[in-house]
Symmetry: C2
Subunit: 519 residues, 2 copies
């Protein structure tokens, strides 16, 4: 893993974080150490790389264990139980693109499945091989490719290697006064390539928030050759090559580097929070803001449950946070707050230059959540998040259906009510991206199965309501049934044909996007 | 052709337009009438539709002649000479999507090439069949599908049929206070489907200017079935289905309708023009504006030749026009003008609420140009436009190379210097979209061949300079050599495979994007 520049991570979790304490002693909490991990780590590896590639691969149990899972609830739970049935056979760490080419060539010839591994933050089974039809499974860890290779200050773009985590490039770009300004919750724990391959959404929640729009050109190693698109601010020449690889989740090729569009580091910043008594009013306020053309740097909405859980509004009420980051920003912030007032909101406090405290409270809770979840899992608490996007006209029905039907699933599975909270992580002129959190009491030993059942109910509801099965968490293996429903059938035919052309041996991330038989 | 709502066309060319006068008498100017058109219109048609589809098709010579060409210079010239060698065999006018399905089914079975025809404004040979390998050629005229089928006022979106020209939907959306606000130069003469299929750029020149970003979902008839994507404000579920069809130029399917993202009709508007003595200063000013985050509604730059030709700055100098259209706009316009001043510009006059006169002069020249060109062609004047996009760092070299090398080609082909002008039609934070106009003296009878040679030199130069072969004019048949160079080879493989999956008989617009043998 590349060195993380802590300074570059702008929102350091506070040091008293509960989750950090929970994690502080592995042995005391019954977390299995590597020697105690279950099969197949104790058995022999099924395939070994040829001598020419031996220096790139490792079959050490610790390496294999570390590359077995992503960070879904069921991953955390299975790791906790020492279940390593899905471990890859060797793990490879290419040092450059040439190594990636060589590794793919060997894998294609030896029928070895290749599972690209960025930083392992997938919550959808994206890095877990389940197909069982290949002669072996190679985890292709891109974390050696971390450099910013070139900076074009004039066009504000940089060529960045795909294995770079969030903070590294930010530190390297700071001397130029530039930033990628793409801050997913997993900022410090996700790679550029992983974000491109999964169409990740950033923390800045309006305008160009998806990494798709920030990619100027991509370099992708496929078994059929290396694809490099031209750097272009825009083009009308045929379907966009980049858009085929964006979202391909390692099934069409391995992204090795990208020219990314950058921004000047913001010189001004102001934010405000507004409280609403009625959630529907808050939704209307957010819609007005999203359609205003004001493009706030940020616009988050927490429903009453989410506001209470994160400590932002313990007394109830929905909370809207807005943020502006251009030129002199006070005027624009005032316009945003005025829009919120028109829809029944009350500013929580005066806006201040360094961010208001409700926003800070929420941000802190937001960043702590993944740590906290690992701790909760140890107490058999089931926590699940799923996110979607829908047009504004469909949101009220979707919100109601999720509460009603996922709530019923939680009661059926756990025998008790759980918490179902919602926030808007991103808003577009034509609709919000709601993010739901479900927290419920699990039974020790059955957590993963219970999670599966709740998750299936959630997916079903999203599909019925015409909402996307995922807005930024990717499809992976876990969302495939919902994806199969969302994707138009002729497009599925075209995409499968494209895969067969680029990956004729069917070795690239089998089981993701396509059923594993698609090879 | 749908009725054009003249009221909805906001910039009516003035009535004294020279081009209109030139066109006023066909007979007097030697323009051939239908009976005098050359082969194969006089011969029999090669294929005829089955009885069940007979009511949809026509082989009348006037229909066939009207569907033979687009609006490229060489199209205008060949039409002028009465050369109809490329005429389609029958012309079909489906009344609804079901008709499109039936026509494709017949064509696939009868080996009839299908060339989709919107309003025939292609300048890249997009509607001209040249392959010669099929048993016949059907021109599929979508102009019967013109309705706005549904409006979602809350999400600001409408479901619009693909054959609608620009003004029709605008008139139907006005009562809702909504606008698509996509105004290509061909606004009144291009269909929604044609713009989607070619990734058209609109007149509003920053932020979401390409129609790609305005499309919420598409319905596409392919020989392998009808593809309909879900309406989504955003999605991270696999590669975007819409992005495969956007830019596919009729080679993968026929777009029949789309949900389009709309905007509120602007309530405020202000514009200003700024004059620069030095073109490089003007380029820097535009870059600063494009990277400012101010997102002006419009930002056009004319180089000295273009400014003089359009009558905006007869005394020389580069002219920058900016426009703002949100909430109270004066403040934002002042910020834009201040940025231009910082780079050496002088405001041409006071900004006024109804647009300044330099902007009006330019707009009028802009709208008149296509009419004027038809007149110029009759005087054997060669006029060619080509447009591109490149990152800012490459623009100075590109500008110089085009002037030097295309200038040399003009001298070689015509024996005299021509005019080579440039303007930025669109600007992005990472680069401009320069649009070049070449005007040169042709020799009667050789105009098309001379044009071909100049065009080839221009394409060559764009490729060498790493600029896109087209920013919004599409690839068609004329840009295919340049496109083959721009497109990464593995992507070409994938796209060809996708085409074979969707169009196994290879009937869809043969020769566009792919060589005609790709079937």
């Amino acid at each position: 893993m590349a060195a993380i520049d802590a300074e570059a991570w702008p929102w350091r979790p506070n040091s008293s974080m509960a989750a950090a304490r929970i994690c502080s002693s592995r042995r005391a909490r019954g977390i299995p150490l590597v020697p105690a991990l279950r099969a197949p780590l104790s058995g022999g590896v099924r395939v070994s790389a040829p001598a020419t590639l031996a220096h790139l691969v490792s079959s050490a149990p610790a390496e294999r264990a570390a590359h077995t899972y992503g960070k879904a609830f069921r991953d955390v739970v299975r790791a906790l139980y020492g279940d390593m049935a899905a471990a890859p056979d060797p793990v490879a760490r290419p040092r450059d693109e040439r190594d990636v080419v060589d590794l793919l060539e060997w894998a294609a010839g030896a029928d070895v499945a290749v599972v690209p591994y960025g930083a392992g933050s997938s919550v959808v089974g994206g890095v877990e091989y389940r197909a069982g039809e290949h002669s072996g499974v190679l985890s292709l860890d891109l974390s050696g490719l971390v450099r910013v290779l070139e900076v074009d200050r004039v066009s504000r773009a940089a060529r960045i290697q795909a294995g770079a985590l969030g903070p590294g490039p930010e530190a390297q770009l700071r001397p130029y006064g530039l930033t990628l300004r793409h801050f997913p919750q997993s900022f410090a724990f996700s790679t550029l390539g992983g974000r491109l391959a999964t169409r990740a959404g950033g923390h800045y929640a309006t305008l160009h928030t998806h990494i798709d729009d920030l990619a100027e050109s991509l370099r992708v190693v496929t078994p059929a050759g290396v694809s490099e698109s031209l750097r272009m601010p825009g083009s009308g020449a045929g379907p966009s090559p980049d858009r085929l690889f964006l979202g391909s989740e390692g099934t069409l090729g391995i992204i090795t580097e990208a020219w990314m569009r950058l921004q000047d580091r913001p010189s001004h910043k102001a934010s405000a929070s507004v409280v609403f008594e009625r959630f529907p009013d808050a939704v209307e306020a957010v819609r007005a803001i999203a359609q205003s053309g004001l493009h706030p740097a940020n616009c988050r909405l927490l429903d009453p449950g989410e506001a209470a859980l994160s400590g932002v509004a313990p007394e109830g009420g929905s909370v809207l946070g807005v943020e502006s980051a251009h030129g002199p920003v006070e005027g624009r912030l005032a316009e945003l707050v005025a829009l919120a007032r028109e829809h029944g909101g009350s500013p929580a406090e005066e806006a201040s230059a360094d961010g208001d405290s409700a926003a800070n409270t929420w941000r802190s809770a937001f960043l702590r959540m993944p740590y906290l979840r690992a701790g909760l899992a140890r107490m058999s608490v089931i926590s699940e998040t799923f996110e979607t996007a829908c047009t504004w006209d469909r949101f009220p029905a979707l919100y109601e259906a999720v509460h009603r039907d996922v709530g019923a699933a939680v009661r059926k599975v756990t025998g008790a009510s759980g918490l179902i909270n919602c926030r808007f992580t991103h808003v577009y002129p034509d609709g919000p991206a709601p993010y739901f959190t479900v927290i419920a009491a699990g039974r020790r030993g059955s957590e993963a199965a219970m999670w599966d059942e709740i998750k299936a109910a959630a997916m079903e509801r999203l599909g019925e309501q015409g909402a996307t099965v995922t807005h930024h968490h990717a499809v992976g293996r876990d969302h495939r049934p919902g994806y199969a429903r969302q994707r138009p059938e002729p497009f599925a035919l075209a995409l499968r044909a494209a895969k067969q052309a680029l990956d004729p041996a069917g070795i690239l991330n089998p089981g993701v996007l396509f059923d594993a038989a698609a090879r």
